[in-house]
């Protein structure tokens, strides 16, 4: 049986959902950050799947853009995380409660 488009879409939807749930329930900043990366990669999978089935290269190009942006985001995000760790030596978001949530 050859893989159908829907298989890829289902997989990426699952990955995306895992990412969303992870961001919502994880309490460690690094884990939350990884879940966001998971969401982005689920999107990439969707793009690549569509691109491949349409025989259209623009979806794959989109993936490159997403990867670049994700790298930039990671750089800034880790910077922010390091700063906050320096100031309070904890990465648990529940500790980050000077501001009400």
């Amino acid at each position: 049986m050859t893989p159908q488009l829907s298989w890829y879409l289902a997989l990426s939807a699952m990955l995306f959902t895992i990412g969303v749930v992870g961001v919502l329930i994880k309490r460690n900043v690094i884990s939350m950050f990884m879940c966001i990366e998971l969401m982005l990669n689920a999107v990439n999978l969707t793009f690549v799947a569509f691109s491949s089935f349409f025989h259209d290269v623009s979806g794959q190009l989109f993936v490159f853009i997403v990867m670049t942006v994700a790298a930039a985001e990671a750089a800034v995000g880790l910077g922010i995380i390091i700063t906050i760790f320096r100031n309070r030596e904890s990465l648990d978001v529940d500790d980050a409660s000077v501001l009400k949530l």
Partner: protein, 517 residues
């Protein structure tokens, strides 16, 4: 033939069409370089250069609007030129100039690296401009990320302050979360717009034409829903607003002012572009296009009502001025959404253009009065935002009359009292909504205005009608902030009394290039 091959044969490069973005981008790089090599005494250089660049970008977009005969789109529809773009570009320019003026005092007091701040601000502005000029979801995403990444850093700019760190972290996590939703929406739209013969597309104008030929209509709806969530987070509409108060409270005050006015307006620009033009009103209500349009419009109307109510009601119980203004900014996004709903429901190009103009005008008025209010909050707060509680404003009315009366003016404008910009903004938005038959939404809007009187007046009462028991050392009014105040006060009255010119300029060129299909 694939789209890429088409683009390879005809790259359709038109640098004049992205002149404002280019100017700001190059200026941002220059500012960064100057900051690296300049001596300490030359701090003012970066600020001056940034303001010059912003004015040049504003001039460039006015010039683009004046020389209307040129191309309306470039880079194969990636960049478009219409009212929506031009009016929002001007709003961004105003917001960024005011931010630089307000931030000057704050940077001075806290000894922060000015050059870095100005460079980040310029990059953020460039991102906002791209969001407004995007004709393609790719550019929307890119502009959004350029904006967001710069703003994350700006929110955490006070590096040693835990509140600023937290604000930055929360903004980053929720911002990326929202971006991921947006991106997933784009991916689904890309898949859903494929037809039997053509591959999918991310071009907004093309999407509108493909709606009824979609191979996978459910994907289309899912994609639109994801986009709605993503944009909903970005412009802080209820129920996606929960991050706003924390982030706004913790970020340095000038950055809060910027975030409430600039990125929010940019979000509106793309949001409206994607939904009003990408999923336009359809002649056949039973078609996929009609169904999609009806779904998002109905959802948005409910979101607008919810956003206004939540923002205003929760603002009443706030004891921190920045937090109160954060909720007020949520509420104002709700009022602007009323105009957005009207734009979505408009059946002809003229009415739609009027509605889009009203939203742009509303966001301009909000930007002006909000920046003014935050300028004063910055001054009163002092270093490290120490004095931001409502009690800190006790009885300062006649001790610092200039600050107190200006702040009262901005609060009354935010409340929507006549003679001020806020009133005209509301009138414009509500007028277009009534025209499209959303009377119930307008009634909810005015009732919310009544609710908002409580918390805006509260601050005025505290300042003028109470006596101060603790000593008050009046803050010095630096030249840059004084200039910002003069601009904003003049703006509040000008937009409140003579909005005609601005409205005409914002609505001069309806977006006929993307006509209703």
């Amino acid at each position: 033939m694939s789209l890429i091959a088409l683009q390879a044969t005809n790259p359709d490069i038109n640098l004049t069409l992205i002149a404002p973005e280019l100017i700001i981008g190059i200026a941002g790089v220059l500012v960064m370089m100057i900051d690296a090599f300049a001596r300490r005494g030359q701090r003012w250089l970066t600020g001056g250069l940034s303001i010059v660049a912003l004015i040049a970008a504003g001039g460039a977009s006015i010039w683009l609007g004046a020389g209307w005969r040129g191309a309306r789109s470039a880079f194969n529809g990636m960049i478009v030129l219409d009212d929506l773009r031009l009016s929002f570009t001007l709003i961004f320019v105003v917001v960024s100039i005011l931010t630089i003026l307000i931030a000057a005092a704050w940077i001075d007091i806290e000894k922060l690296p000015a050059g870095e701040f100005h460079a980040l601000l310029l990059f953020a502005t460039c991102g906002m401009m791209l969001m407004a000029s995007a004709g393609d979801l790719v550019i929307v995403f890119l502009g959004l990320e350029i904006l967001s990444i710069a703003t994350y850093v700006m929110a955490g700019f006070r590096r040693t302050d835990v509140r600023s760190n937290e604000s930055s972290l929360k903004y980053f996590i929720l911002g990326s979360f929202a971006s991921a939703f947006l991106l997933y929406g784009i991916a689904l739209i890309y898949g859903a717009t494929a037809t039997a013969t053509l591959p999918g597309t991310t071009n907004i104008a093309t999407i509108a034409g493909r709606l009824n030929h979609s191979l996978y209509p459910p994907l289309l709806l899912a994609g639109a829903a994801m986009l709605l969530v993503g944009f909903g987070f970005k412009i802080a509409t209820a129920p996606f607003h929960v991050w706003t108060p924390d982030v706004y409270e913790g970020a340095p005050t000038p950055v809060t002012a910027f975030m409430a006015a600039g990125p929010k307006a940019a979000g509106f620009a793309s949001f409206m572009r994607v939904f009003v033009f990408g999923f336009p009103i359809a002649t056949a209500a039973a078609s996929t296009a009609g169904y999609t349009h009806k779904s998002w419009l109905g959802t948005l109307a409910i979101m607008a009502a919810l956003t206004m109510s939540v923002g205003n009601i929760v603002a009443i119980v706030q004891n921190n001025v920045k937090r109160m203004l954060a909720y007020s900014s949520i509420a104002h996004a709700g009022y602007a959404l009323v105009g957005f709903v009207a734009a979505g429901a408009a059946t002809d190009a003229e009415q739609r253009s009027a509605a889009l103009t009203s939203v742009a005008f509303y966001l301009l008025t909000y930007a002006v009065m909000n920046m003014g209010a935050f300028a004063i909050v910055t001054l009163i707060a002092r270093g490290n935002d120490r004095r931001t509680a409502v009690e800190d404003y006790n009885g300062i009315g006649f001790l610092s009359p200039v600050l107190a009366f200006s702040l009262s003016l901005f609060l009354l404008s935010l409340l929507g009292m006549p003679l001020t910009a806020g009133f005209m903004g509301k009138v414009m938005v509500f007028t277009t909504a009534v025209r499209q038959g959303y009377l119930w939404l307008v009634v909810i809007g005015v009732l919310n205005t009544a609710v908002s009187a409580y918390y805006y007046l509260r601050l005025i009462i505290v300042m003028f009608f109470r006596e101060r028991n603790t000593p008050w050392d009046a803050p010095r009014l630096p030249v840059s902030v004084a200039l910002a105040l003069v601009i904003t006060i003049a703006g509040v009255f000008y937009l409140g009394l003579f909005p005609g010119r601005v409205l005409n300029a914002f609505g001069a060129h309806p977006s006929i290039s993307l006509s209703i299909r």
